[in-house]
């Protein structure tokens, strides 16, 4: 068994940011990541809303932070068991690592909604239906194209896929996909100025700083079109394009349209690790997201002493929110560790 001051579970933005801040406070941190690569979902990001920050810059900054002398990073180290042993926490991993520490930070993040559950949208059935993550990857390599390798003439983005949807058991709003659709449509127009972009929405939620401005910019400078109506049918056309159908609710008229790509703005769910570890430790809340003891006043603490939370294991958050939450968690843990040594 290896000793540490803190075991941080999850090498995404939350885990790394918290680990780094703890390391700076002279705590010995073990950072365990289940994948070969760190960064979590930041791995696939191209740019970040609302300022089109290059995600690779964020990745290099995060990578730099993991190099701090007080951090030991373990890759391919999926956590299998978290248990309480007297005043300590024991964390065991799939590759046989075994740690003991007074504090654990859960930063095991989210997973994206599996769009195959929305069969009527044709994901996994028609090649032109892709997820927002796949579209982001296309942007990253500068190759927005249909399955046949052609340049799309028209792209539709559909909001709220797997969010706000009783049928899949997710009543909540994932918070980031509205603004992400605005970002993606602008990026699409930057790479393919002649493409037509349409966003289909039930509500447009532009609550963050500069979001509304970006929404406006997408209309003013990039001619992105917005249609208030939820697409409920997708069918292939004879020439291998896709026909989407919705009601244009503002004109109160059904609408159909042929597109080359339909991008599903998939929502945020608790990751498998979040759900499993939350269950083991007993901090699972609604939808398997982890539950802090007080949303308003102690959002990084749990009902267990020494077991802390940061980032999207709690709920859908943006990147800046996640990073801020990670720093807050590091502060809480620092105070906790100091209280033990007194």
């Amino acid at each position: 068994m290896n000793k540490a001051d803190v075991v941080v579970i999850g090498g995404g933005p939350a885990g790394i940011e918290a680990a780094y801040n703890l390391a700076r406070d002279n705590h010995k941190v073990v950072l365990v990541e289940k994948e070969e690569e760190i960064f979590g979902h930041m791995q696939t990001a191209y740019t970040l809303f609302p300022n089109f920050q290059d995600a690779s810059e964020i990745r290099s900054s995060l990578l730099q932070k993991t190099k701090h002398g007080n951090i030991t990073l373990y890759n391919n180290a999926e956590v299998t068991q978290v248990s309480r042993e007297n005043d300590f926490w024991r964390v065991q991993t799939i590759n046989g690592l075994d740690f003991i520490a007074p504090a654990v930070l859960l930063a095991s993040g989210f997973k994206t909604f599996d769009a195959r559950y929305k069969e009527e949208l044709g994901y996994g059935i028609y090649k032109g239906v892709i997820t927002s993550v796949e579209f982001e990857e296309m942007l990253k390599v500068g190759k927005i194209q249909t399955a046949n390798g052609e340049k799309p003439r028209r792209i539709a983005f559909l909001n709220c896929v797997g969010s706000r949807d009783e049928k899949v058991g997710n009543h909540y709003c994932s918070r980031v996909c509205c603004i992400n659709a605005v970002k993606l449509s602008i990026e699409a127009k930057k790479q393919l100025p002649e493409v037509e972009a349409y966003c289909f929405y039930m509500d447009i939620r532009m609550s963050g700083q500069f979001y509304e401005e970006l929404y406006r910019k997408s209309q003013e400078d990039f001619d992105v079109n917005y249609i208030r109506g939820r697409i409920s049918e997708v069918a292939p056309t004879f020439d291998n394009r896709l026909q989407v159908k919705c009601e244009d609710t503002l004109s109160q008229t059904p609408l159909k349209m042929t597109v080359d790509l339909l991008v599903l703005m998939i929502g945020i769910e608790a990751s498998e690790g979040t759900a499993r570890i939350g269950e083991q430790v007993g901090v699972n809340g609604e939808y398997n997201f982890s539950k802090s003891i007080s949303l308003h006043t102690a959002d990084n603490k749990t009902k267990h002493r020494g077991f802390f939370l940061a980032g999207t294991c709690k709920r859908p958050l943006t990147v800046p929110e996640t990073m801020a939450d990670a720093r807050a968690a590091a502060l809480e843990i620092d105070l906790y560790l100091k209280s033990l040594s007194q």
Binding site: K167, R228, L255
Partner: protein
């Protein structure tokens, strides 16, 4: 055919002070999920009756909710109660039951369809 407001020039104002809002309350009593509709139109877009009519469930539902009953009975006759709309509703609204109950209430209010 009654004017359902499909034309560009609106033929009337909805005066909520003078509208009968109690009929909708009876729908909600029977079908509580009616309250959950967020008017996304997914149901209207997938409607089977739309292949041969201009039936718009979402719109009829909203007009009924606002106490605007003129012409709705005829509109509701276009629905075959197949329930396809219910499958796509992301709010779990029992669309079919709403249509069924609106029909009965309109009949009791003596709004007869021409059929």
């Amino acid at each position: 055919m009654k004017d359902l407001g499909f034309s560009i020039s609106q033929s009337r104002t909805i005066d909520l002070d003078k509208s009968d809002l109690s009929a909708y309350r009876r729908v909600v009593e029977k079908v509580p999920s009616a309250k959950l509709c967020l008017m996304c139109g997914a149901c209207t877009a997938t409607c089977t009756a739309r292949n041969h009519t201009d039936f718009n469930f979402r719109k009829v539902h909203l007009l009924f909710r606002r106490g605007q009953f003129e012409g709705l009975a005829e509109e509701l006759d276009k629905c075959m109660l197949c329930g396809k709309c219910r499958l796509v509703c992301n709010r779990g609204v029992n669309t079919r039951a709403i249509i069924y109950n609106m029909r009965i209430i309109l009949e009791n209010l003596n709004y007869k369809s021409i059929k």
